[in-house]
């Protein structure tokens, strides 16, 4: 690409829409020029063809190259919105189609391209191939637009690449390894084609780095500011080096990680303290870097991450067992924490893993950050999570040590497994529909399992009848969801090799297979569950008031819910006074255990049915709890119609009235060995982490010793949040944890702000 004569013209901040159209056209032509069977080389060629549209210049203050955009139409394994290969950007209208300077000729071409890709895009193809047994049960993806028990998601997410390997080998080393494998397989075989295409994309990567190097040097030449000029020359030198050599410095390592990551389109950064440990240590030994310089470099990476705006991802893991050299890695981890303390942004999402033998200063530093109002690091307890992962994923201990999170808190085994959440289930909706024998109370329409299945439940004469019907309702959906996940991967493999990801995921190279074609060591999937706590609390109230005390009938309860409790103040009060999860109350916590164990085991058991290595529940949270809640009728836990569902594994906001220890005691009762991540959000007052730091540490220590898996903390006062709603202008920097991501409080929609406010402040 450095040989490209019109490179000057390509590299502009905002390419002209007509020019972009011609790039898209060229990209599409490239795609069409290949035999549909030759997916590997087609992908390599497409990745190369789209670069012209993706690459953006280094901006003022950047210390690294890597401003690359996602194409309006292009190849990207993990797209914004839904996408998993060849895809159309969800914002194509605003990005391109409505641009005023788009000529009618361009518009015509674009329309044709869109028509083509709506047939040829990976997601579109997968949708069409999905069998009736899936689409009949889970027909919709629109969980944000309509009521439903379960939805499917067409996407791929959570790839965590082997960055340690990338840095140890560099691009040339990786290429050499690929070539070696290629020499062992028969020419023309599928494996051969894969290796050859991999060589090709690595060559493209080197060209990209070299191209950037030339560009930056060009920028340096026109730079009047002397310091910046030197800086640009440094950036250029780093790029030249990583194009052709193994990275030799911390800075080169960072550049390589970042550029590869954005080039591939993955969104998470793995165990950065581990992958960069040797390079940072080497620089320190050589005296070519100090801590301040390290922070300066990381700060620039943090800003680049921010500019990519993947607030649901951009995970970066530090600490924990299974790192190559803990001591060296801890130094990088401290650097990462200090950078996060200073930058104080909503990305990267730094998660700190810790274990009993780890240097305690890392954990302490983490708490220091939280005390000053950072929402990072999130804390993850190895002592619980490693044994849990061993059981949930069914892998040996050595593998379980590599459990890391991506996105909103889903676990994967670092560069060994994938676990895209391709389905969501609203357990509370499952219960409400079941109580109404198939009628969705929010729309009056039929939903869920067929009506004849209700017959055996004797009109819900006993609580067991109702609970069993609820279970069947859930199971009815989970089977097709699992199958959809498996088929989605399979369909993805029909069209894509995901070359750049396959290069750095075990055991694709050794097996000579692409990631979803049998290359990945553990092919896993996950199911997002929502309303878990509301469902448990609802079942408690039903059991207590309908079946035990017999204060009203189930039908009468359905009437109250339909009326959204209007005119039923006394009954609502009785419902609210029933025991609730989160109070260390045996009855309520056992009911939560029932809901939790049922959905977790039902899901887990589907893996072998459909051909996945694991299929596990995640009790994570982004803002889907608020969105899905807005289509869910009033529920027997006292929740009003269309209000939010509980976030993650947390008690229903405000229901945990017995204090923080009781809440934590409840949390640790849920079995952690059955799922791939369940998140806990808690809000603490500032005072707690400053004035009562010792007690606070004891509180966390005890929680973790009792089996606490993880916790995400926001340190804030309620008054501050309320005031921020009234005077957003004064609180631009107030960052809160929403569940799966952090965000500036003032940027959240009012419903989500209220949800955050409803959570108990400890």
């Amino acid at each position: 690409m450095n040989k490209n004569p019109d490179r000057q013209r390509i590299l502009q901040a905002e390419p002209d829409p007509n020019q972009m159209t011609s790039i898209l056209h060229e990209f599409t032509q490239t795609y069409r020029s290949f035999d549909p069977e030759d997916i590997e080389m087609r992908e390599a060629a497409c990745i190369r063809a789209q670069l012209k549209g993706r690459v953006r210049p280094v901006e003022d203050g950047d210390l690294f190259a890597g401003r690359m955009m996602q194409m309006p139409i292009g190849f990207i394994p993990q797209s914004k919105g839904t996408g998993m290969g060849y895809c159309i950007h969800p914002d194509i209208d605003s990005q391109l189609l409505i641009k005023p300077d788009l000529t009618s000729e361009s518009r015509k071409i674009l329309k044709e391209l869109l028509e083509f890709w709506q047939k040829e895009g990976t997601v579109y193809k997968s949708r069409r191939k999905m069998p009736d047994e899936v689409t009949r049960v889970v027909p919709s993806e629109l969980y944000y637009l309509e009521s439903g028990i379960a939805f499917v998601l067409y996407r791929m997410s959570g790839i965590q690449l082997n960055y340690s390997k990338l840095l140890a080998l560099g691009i040339p080393g990786l290429r050499a390894e690929v070539s070696k494998y290629k020499s062992t397989v028969q020419e023309g075989s599928k494996a051969f084609r894969l290796y050859a295409a991999m060589e090709h994309v690595l060559e493209t990567f080197s060209e990209l780095a070299a191209y950037y190097a030339v560009q930056v040097l060009e920028q340096a030449r026109h730079m009047s500011d002397k310091n910046r000029k030197v800086e640009l020359e440094n950036i250029s030198r780093v790029l030249t080096n990583i194009a052709h050599k193994r990275p030799a410095t911390f800075r080169e390592g960072l550049q390589l990680i970042y550029l590869y990551n954005i080039f591939d389109g993955t969104k998470n950064y793995g165990r950065m303290d581990d992958s960069l440990a040797d390079l940072y240590h080497g620089d320190l030994q050589a005296g070519t870097i100090d801590e301040e310089e390290g922070i300066r470099l990381l700060t620039s990476i943090w800003q680049l991450m921010k500019s990519r705006d993947n607030r649901y991802d951009t995970r970066l893991i530090i600490g924990g067992r299974g790192r190559n050299n803990e001591e060296k890695a801890n130094r990088v981890a401290m650097l990462i924490l200090e950078t996060t303390r200073r930058v104080k942004e909503n990305v990267p999402q730094v998660a700190l893993r810790f274990h009993n033998d780890q240097d305690p200063s890392l954990y302490q530093k983490g708490l220091d950050l939280l005390a000053t109002g950072n929402t990072y690091p999130m804390l993850y307890n190895d002592e619980v999570n490693i044994p849990s992962a061993r059981n949930a994923f069914g892998v040996p201990h050595e593998e379980a040590e590599h459990i890391i999170q991506y996105g909103c808190g889903e676990y994967v085994l670092n560069h060994r497994s994938v676990g895209t959440p391709s389905g969501v289930i609203n357990l509370l909706q499952a219960l409400l529909v079941t109580m109404n024998r198939g009628i969705d109370p929010s729309t009056g329409k039929y939903q869920g399992m067929p009506v004849e299945r209700y017959v055996k439940y004797n009109n819900f004469q006993t609580f067991k009848d109702l609970a069993d019907a609820y279970k069947e309702q859930v199971e009815y959906h989970v089977g097709p969801l699992a199958l959809q996940e498996y088929l989605e991967y399979k369909h993805a493999a029909d069209d894509n090799a995901y070359l750049l990801s396959s290069l750095l995921m075990d055991d694709c190279l050794a097996r000579g297979k692409a990631i979803f074609d049998g290359g990945i060591r553990y092919l896993g999937g996950t199911l997002e569950t929502y309303g878990n706590t509301n469902t448990a609390d609802s079942l408690v109230a039903i059991k207590e008031l309908v079946y035990h005390q017999k204060i009203f009938t189930l039908d009468a309860l359905n009437q109250m819910l339909k009326a959204n409790f209007r005119g039923y103040g006394k009954e609502l009060k009785m419902i609210l006074n029933c025991p609730k999860y989160g109070n260390d109350h045996q009855f309520a916590d056992r009911m939560y255990g029932f809901v939790h164990d049922h959905i977790c085991k039902t899901t887990r058991d589907q893996a072998k049915e459909v051909g996945l290595d694991s299929y596990l529940v995640v009790v994570i949270n982004n803002d889907a709890n608020t969105v899905m809640g807005s289509f869910t009728a009033a529920s027997p836990d006292g929740r009003k119609a269309f209000s939010h569902l509980n976030p993650g594994n947390n008690p229903v906001g405000g229901a945990d009235k017995s204090g923080v220890t009781a809440c934590l005691n409840s949390l640790v009762k849920a079995d952690t060995t059955l799922h791939a991540g369940a998140v806990q959000n808690m809000k603490f007052s500032k005072e707690m982490l400053s004035k009562y730091r010792r007690q606070f540490e004891s509180l966390l220590q005890t929680y973790f010793e009792k089996g606490g898996s993880q916790i995400m903390l926001t340190v804030v006062s309620r008054g501050e949040l309320e005031d921020a709603q009234k005077h957003p202008e004064n609180y631009q920097n107030l960052i809160v944890r929403v569940g799966g991501f952090s965000e500036r409080f003032v940027n959240l929609p009012p419903e989500t702000q209220n949800e955050v406010l409803s959570r108990t402040l400890n």
């Binding site: 009060k573 204090g659 009781a662 007690q695 004891s698 509180l699 220590q701 005890t702 010793e705 009792k706």
Partner: protein, 301 residues
């Protein structure tokens, strides 16, 4: 054995070392002007009525058997002295405007509840704290809770105003790891003015605990304009020197969070009605005491 309490508060950080669970028992012999827990005064349950939540539906009136609740020109009137705390009205109220302070519970159940947090106590050096009211208004019940606590291996604190028979202190002495002993005002007359009781007995008990080698934290509520005087500070300083067993002197700056409760529970005494002490005031008081040479101050300014 049963007694009457009005709250169990887990994760209490202000009532002794570490993470604790504080038990608030009903009944108090004093009537301190600044009291923030007026619901603790009586040794029986009492009704609380929050006018702001009331929607005047009068469903409570229909179930009230004593005539304590009645309607008068569209307004609910609560005659607290007629109330027998039967609690029927509370179930009827759709808005939670009515509630009862005080319920009976056995010592064993209380300690079992507290024990749910034992792991937190063990990691933080915490335990159980008996507070109130004045726990020694229910001496046998207090004794029973302490015994059960000790049997379960809990660290025990008791918060006391000092106004009880010496014999009661003698009885609980071996079961209490730390006395959080209130010292409110010097001079018996002034004490009577502020708390409705003289302080001779209190000082004798303090002396007794000191000679009995009890572990004492002296807790001094400081109310701006009431007892933030040089004379009082001098008296505190003197105690810190005279009594070897005082391991800590802690100031309890006045706050007014409990003010609204006075009217809600129908007390004839009005709340003090002054603003809460500020953090600067608190720091200043600690600084003043330090200057006077007070020993073992909790906060070093």
């Amino acid at each position: 054995m049963e007694g009457i309490l009005f709250d169990i508060q887990p994760f209490a950080l202000h009532d002794g070392p570490g993470i604790r669970t504080t038990i608030f028992l009903k009944g108090c012999p004093l009537r301190c002007q600044w009291c923030s827990n007026p619901e603790s005064f009586l040794k029986r349950s009492n009704l609380s009525y929050n006018r702001e939540k009331c929607i005047a539906c009068f469903s409570c009136v229909r179930v009230c058997e004593t005539g304590a609740l009645f309607e008068l020109s569209d307004v609910l009137v609560v005659q607290h002295d007629l109330c027998n705390a039967c609690g029927k009205c509370i179930d009827e109220c759709p808005e939670d405007a009515l509630k009862l302070y005080g319920y009976r519970e056995s010592a064993r159940n209380i300690v079992n509840e507290v024990l749910k947090d034992k792991a937190y106590f063990d990691n933080s050096g915490g335990g159980i704290t008996l507070s109130g009211g004045e726990p020694l208004m229910q001496p046998d019940f207090t004794m029973e809770i302490l015994k059960e606590s000790k049997k379960a291996g809990l660290h025990t604190c008791i918060e006391t105003c000092g106004f009880a028979a010496e014999a009661e202190y003698e009885k609980i002495l071996p079961l209490v790891d730390m006395f959080l002993f209130d010292y409110k005002a010097g001079g018996s007359e002034k004490h009577r003015l502020l708390t409705k009781q003289p302080n001779e007995l209190i000082l004798e008990n303090l002396e007794f605990l000191n000679t009995s080698m009890a572990n004492i934290v002296l807790r001094c509520p400081i109310v701006p304009g009431v007892n933030d005087t040089l004379e009082h500070f001098k008296a505190i300083t003197k105690l810190s020197h005279d009594l070897d067993q005082i391991t800590e002197v802690e100031l309890m700056p006045y706050h007014n969070y409990g003010e609204h409760k006075y009217e809600q529970i129908g007390l004839s005494e009005p709340a003090l009605g002054i603003p809460a002490a500020t953090e600067e005031q608190e720091d200043q008081w600690y600084a003043d005491l330090a200057k006077l040479g007070c020993k073992n101050l909790k906060k070093q300014i």
